[in-house]
Subunit: 71 residues, 2 copies
């Protein structure tokens, strides 16, 4: 298999979002498997994309949350 192309994405997070991310990584970690914040982000992207595709998300609700983030 050819080596996969990679994209570099830079995201600015609030302290609170960063703390949420750290906590999520910790919750997914175990003594056998340490999960990084980057891994959580990749997982979260796949999850939200899948749910959007399946129409399982309330777009209005998501957009409301976006507005709240930017205040």
């Amino acid at each position: 298999m050819p080596k996969k192309e990679k994209k570099r994405l830079q995201v600015i997070l609030s302290e609170e979002q960063d703390a949420l991310l750290t906590r999520a990584a910790y919750e997914l970690s175990s003594p056998e498997r340490l999960v990084s914040k980057s891994e959580v982000v990749r997982l979260a992207i796949e999850k939200i994309a899948k749910e959007l595709e399946e129409g399982r998300l309330e777009l209005a609700e998501l957009l409301k949350r976006l507005e709240a983030q930017e205040e």
Copy 2:
């Protein structure tokens, strides 16, 4: 209110994940409101963290997806 602290996070995505992210941003966008990939990432982080906290996620399933990502 004091200016919020910001954290910079760099994530490496596969081309496929980047494409998912672009599509999600497009689906959340409208002629009145353009949603960026960074916004989708922030939203996805808040969402996965909230669901983990509420115990609504199947951890085993998430970890399986993580392993699949790294292949």
